[in-house]
Amino acid sequence: MDFEIAKEISAEIVAPIIDALNGAVDGELVRIILRHNNGGHVPSAFALILAVINTKATVEILMDRHIMSAAAFIWVWFAIRHQDNVRALHPAEPAVLMYHRPRQMCLDSPDHYVFRDDLEETHPLREHMAVGEQVFDTLFDELIQALGYSDEKEYLTHDGAPYRHNLSYMRAAYYQNRDCVLTF
């Protein structure tokens, strides 16, 4: 059974996939294709991940062209957190993955975001966003480690110049709430 998730992640889009995963029998193949997907609703991405974790099906998660934000999070989760019945496959064609910390879009303007760091201690969204941020941060740290980053490799001195690992620059950008792009 193939499910294509194009353009965005939303509760409506993931609901039939979650139903299929919950009802799947042992060994049934479910393919989830994330195609030119800009991300979207983080709780829906999390719900889909939980359904994949708990399914009896064999699941393949594919990506095509570009996947961003919540869509990227789904692919990275299964690329980093191995599970016998699930495979996050690398794309066959050139593709781009964009990962960043979870953020809340302003209801008055899609051009304005807020990150947890920007909220005052007492703001009701702060505690909520902290949980999502911890999960995104954990996975990001594991991703760059799997790509070759470690504290020991951060700097390399050559001819008197302190060269810095490219993933160290990416890590700094990520923790400043900037977008991180990985190319395939």
Binding site: F46, L50, I80, H82, V131, T138, L139, D179, V181, T183
Partner: protein
């Protein structure tokens, strides 16, 4: 924005700080927190966060 080429992932390099069960518990916690937030917004008659601006 920074860009890095994605090479093959070597999972043996990862120093895990959280187990699978800890992380999945956090996914559940976040979903429940979102539901509470939405219910509270609905109770107060406020727009629900996480909807795109054009969906209001």
């Amino acid at each position: 924005m920074t860009t890095v080429a994605m090479s093959n992932l070597d999972l043996s390099r990862i120093k895990r700080s959280k187990s699978n069960s800890e992380l999945t518990s956090m996914l559940v916690e976040y979903i429940k927190s979102d539901e509470r937030l939405r219910a509270e917004c609905q109770r107060q008659g406020k727009p629900i966060p996480n909807l795109r601006a054009e969906q209001r």
